[in-house]
Symmetry: C2
Subunit: 326 residues, 2 copies
C-alpha cells in the first residue's frame, strides 16, 4: 500500500566516461611530485609483529593460540591468491589456520555444513568466507549462519548495525575500513571535523568505511555511480577513500590540493611479467594524484597489507575474548 | 594495542552560535513567499484511512486485529503526549493498544519483565519503548531484549544493519525516517541522484534517515555539531532533512534556492496559550526558509503526523507477517 521503501537496489555500474583503464597521459616531472606515500606495508609489518608477540604471550600463558578458518569456494585466481596471503600471514604470526576448499559447483548445504563445523570448533576463533561466492550460492544466507562471535570480517548485519549506531560497539570492524582508519590515525591525519568522501558503497568497504569515519566525527559523503558531478564533490574533501573498483576513476581534478587520498581499489589486469600473471590497479590515477594530494596510498602496498593485518588483529581479539585472556 | 576505533563517541552539542530560539527578524511580505507547504497531516490521514480499511478487512477475514504495546517510564510531559497521540491513532484505525506505565524510579528488571511479557503475548504484534528512558536505565540493554519481530520502531541494531546494507531488507524501517521519505515520494520529489543533507546523526532519526536516503540513491552527507561550515554544505543540497533538535538552526542561507526542506525538529517551548502548556518549534527558520525553498514542511503538522502513521503501518505489516495474512 505504500511505495516500496528499500527495494530499490540498482546495480552499481559506473558510467563509461569514468571507466578508463588507460593511465591518462600527463607530463610527469620529478619536481611536480608533492604527495607523501603512505607505506601500508611498513605499518602492517609493525602491527603484525606486535600481534605475533601477543600470540606467543598467549601460548606461553594459557597454552593456546588463535585459530582462523577460511572457506573458499571455486578456483577464482584472485580469491586463491588472497587466501594464500592470509594463510601465510597467519603462519608468520603464530595463528593456526584451517582452509576448506569447495568446488565451484558445490551445494549451498556444503558451504553451510563447513561453516557450522567451524562455528562449533573451540580451536577456531575467527571464520571467513572468501567473497564473492559463485552466483548460485546465496551469500546472505551463508553469512547469516556464521557465528557472530567468530565473524572476524565483521560483515554480519548486527555488526554493521552496531558500527553505525552511536553508543554501541560492534564485535568486529570490517578489515579494510579498519585498515584505512588505522592508516590515517597512525599517519597523524586528523579525522575529526574533516570533510571525508567515500567513493563506492559496497557492504564490504564503502558502507562500513563511511560509518567508521562518521564514528570518528568526519563529515562524510558517499559517492556512488548515480551521484551527480562526483569530481566536484570529491574535490572538496580533506580525505578521499576510493573503493569503487574502477581503474583511474579518481583523476587529479577530483582531489583538493593537500587532501589525503586512500586508494582501496584493486582491479586485476593481465600482466605476464608479474609472478601471478596479473597486477593490481587502484582507483586513483596516481601520476595525477601525487601532484595534488598531500598523502596518497599506493596500489599495491597501501591498504591491502593493512587489510591482512586487521584480519589477524580481529582474530587475535576474538581469541582473547573467547578464551578470556587479557 | 591499536588506537581505539569506535570508542570516540562525543556528546552532540551544537555550538552556541547556532542555538538561538529567537525567530530571526526578517522582513516578511506575502509576495516573497514561494515555498509550497508539504501538509503532513493530509498525507497521514490518507495513509491512516487505508490502514483502517486493511485492519477491518483483516478482522473480517481472520477475526483478528493488530495489537500494539507501549511501555512508558516516568512522567515526561512530551512522552505522555506522544504516547497519548499514538494510542488515539491506534483506536481510530482499529488497532488494539496496550500501555504499561512504570514509575520514573522503577528498576531495569521491571521494564524488561514488561517487555518479555509483550514479547510472548500472541495478541501483540508491535512493541515500542517510549524514549528517552530515565538516566538510570540502560536503553541499549532494554532494547536488545525486544523481540526483533515486534520491533516496530526499527531501532534494533540488526534492523539498522539490514537497512544500511545493500541487498538486505530490514523487518521495519524506523517511523520518522520512513515518514520523511514517504512524504518525499508521495509529493513527487525525486530522490535518486539528488544531493541530500541530513542534519543530526541520532540513532533514531538522523542515522536511519541518511541510510534510507542512501538506499534511494541520493548522494548523502550527514552534518553534525563538529561539521565545519555546515551552512555551506547544507546550501548545496537539493533535499535537506533537519533532525538536530535546535530551534532555528537552519536559516535562509543554509538552503539552496528551490531545495526541498523537511523539518524533523520538535523542541517543546513553554506556551500557556496552548492546550498542553507548550508548543513545538522546528529546526528550520520557517520565515526565511519559505522564501528560498521550493517545499518546506511545517512544525507541527509536517513530519510528526507521518511518524504516527508509519507506526501504525509498521504494526499492521508486523501483524500481517506474524499472522500470515495478505
Amino acid at each position: 500500500m505504500s511505495p516500496p521503501l528499500v527495494s530499490l537496489d540498482l546495480p552499481d555500474i559506473w558510467p563509461p566516461n569514468f571507466t578508463s583503464s588507460d593511465t591518462p597521459s600527463m607530463q610527469k616531472s620529478f619536481n611536480e611530485r608533492t604527495a607523501a606515500v603512505l607505506d601500508g606495508k611498513l605499518v602492517s609489518m609493525e602491527i603484525r609483529s606486535r600481534i605475533a608477540d601477543e600470540v606467543s604471550r598467549m601460548k606461553k600463558c594459557i597454552g593456546k593460540v588463535p585459530g582462523l578458518a577460511v572457506i573458499v569456494v571455486g578456483q577464482r585466481r584472485d580469491s586463491q591468491i588472497y587466501v594464500r596471503n592470509k594463510i601465510k600471514a597467519c603462519e608468520e604470526a603464530g595463528i593456526k589456520s584451517f582452509v576448506t576448499e569447495l568446488p565451484t559447483d558445490c551445494a549451498e548445504v556444503d558451504v553451510c555444513n563447513a561453516l557450522l563445523r567451524f562455528n562449533k570448533d573451540p580451536s577456531i576463533h575467527g571464520i571467513l568466507v572468501q567473497l564473492p561466492l559463485p552466483q548460485h550460492l546465496n551469500e546472505e544466507k551463508v553469512l547469516d549462519i556464521l557465528s557472530l562471535e567468530k565473524d572476524v570480517d565483521g560483515f554480519h548485519p548486527l555488526n554493521i548495525g552496531n558500527l553505525a549506531m552511536r553508543g554501541r560497539e560492534p564485535l568486529f570492524i570490517p578489515c579494510t575500513p579498519k585498515g584505512c582508519v588505522e592508516l590515517l590515525i597512525r599517519s597523524g591525519v586528523e579525522i575529526i571535523g574533516k570533510k571525508a568522501v567515500v567513493i563506492g558503497r559496497s557492504n564490504i568497504v564503502g558502507l562500513p568505511t563511511s560509518l567508521l569515519l562518521q564514528r570518528h566525527h568526519a563529515t562524510v559523503t558517499i559517492i556512488h555511480p548515480l551521484t551527480d558531478s562526483p569530481e566536484k564533490i570529491a574535490s572538496e574533501a580533506d580525505i578521499v577513500v576510493s573503493a569503487a573498483g574502477v581503474p583511474n576513476l579518481v583523476r587529479g581534478n577530483w582531489i583538493k590540493p593537500g587532501a589525503v587520498v586512500i586508494d582501496v581499489g584493486t582491479t586485476p589486469v593481465e600482466d605476464p611479467s608479474c609472478e601471478d600473471g596479473y597486477r593490481l590497479i587502484g582507483d586513483v590515477c596516481y601520476e595525477e594524484a601525487e601532484k595534488v594530494a598531500s598523502v596518497v596510498t599506493p596500489v599495491p602496498g597501501g591498504v591491502g597489507p593493512l587489510t591482512v593485518a586487521m584480519l589477524l588483529s580481529n582474530t587475535l581479539d576474538s581469541a582473547k575474548r573467547i578464551l578470556d585472556f587479557n
